[in-house]
Point group: C2
Chain length 202, copies 2
């Protein structure tokens, strides 16, 4: 049995989305997005730093959303969300999958810390501004890549689960401006998917 440890408005939404796309049975442990819940002894036994998502299956505990996505696709699906290794889509699939945590999530994390998590007196506008500018620069190549495409590599793939979710978060943080018209259109494509709706509302 698959158990997903989850908190709303976090990266864990990606995994709910994927579980729903794959039509898998799973148990959802929905925690509050608060230090009390995430830093509890119970949850730190699953993830020493108290993060989500964490996936459990038959005594195996696994964290890092990118790892969980690949695990689920390789172990629990026909693999169709990952292009064959010899295909021409494979390199761009890999690039956009890894671009999520490599380029987009670091400034998003800083923006969330500086606008939501820190108390107002500890926020730093210089740090916030740097992160917002970096995120804008990081989104530009994705906007260009999405021209005339429904999804990142054309057809829907696990790269959309990763990078698509972080583009959705960027937009929620008001960091996708009107010049990023391809990203805006693409987020509309994601929002039409019932599994995505379940992921972001879980």
């Amino acid at each position: 049995m698959l158990t997903l440890h989850h908190a709303p408005n976090s990266r864990a939404g990606r995994i709910v989305w994927l579980l729903e796309e794959l039509g898998l049975d799973y148990k959802l442990n929905r925690m509050e997005f608060s230090p009390k819940a995430l830093k509890s002894d119970e949850h730190r036994a699953r993830h020493p730093l108290g993060r989500v998502p964490v996936l459990e299956e038959d005594g195996t505990t696994l964290y890092e959303s990118g790892a969980i996505v690949e695990y689920l696709v390789r172990r629990h699906s026909d693999g169709s969300l990952i292009p064959p290794h010899e295909s021409s889509s494979f390199p761009e699939y890999l690039q956009w999958f890894h671009y999520c945590e490599g380029m987009v999530m670091p400034p998003i994390n800083t923006i969330i810390v500086q606008t939501i998590l820190l108390p107002p007196e500890r926020r730093d506008n210089t740090v916030l501004g740097q992160a917002q500018r970096l995120l804008g620069k990081s989104l530009k190549p994705v906007n260009d890549a999405l021209s005339n495409r429904e999804y990142l590599i054309g057809s829907f793939s696990a790269a959309d689960i990763m990078l698509g979710h972080s583009l959705y978060m960027s937009n929620r943080l008001d960091c996708v401006d009107e010049t990023m018209d391809q990203i805006k259109r693409y987020i509309g494509n994601l929002e039409k998917r019932p599994a995505f709706q379940k992921g972001i509302s879980a």
Copy 2:
């Protein structure tokens, strides 16, 4: 022909290391780690934000070190650096592979910005201290996982190329203290590999 665009003391060292581990022929374009080189029009045609590593092969251009590592192993080796999907090592392989960019590199990037890249008058000790504390916390689970192991999942794998290289960088930045004895020992294991030596000195 494989061409790697590289700058010293960057993530690109991982890729030199892997190319050497796999015994592949490649051309190395060694650039200075400077805005002049990395933000040149020539390099920004390869990576819009002027980052390294970038890999080129037969008209395909690929960035993100995690993507390049998986591309090279899947396309240019017998795949032995990635455990079979059904093996018991596969989940922990994935976790440590992704932990590198998810948990370890974000604070390393901040530490490099705050101690090397920014001019002294623009550095911020609060930001630096937060990053150093986060890096310390992020390394702790890795130190625990390395107990009685030569490599991250036991035998050498592509997870060592990713996370091992970032542990080496953490140590270079004086962020691996004496309580992290397993990481210190592990870095010693990496340093015995001739391919690793080529990677970090390229």
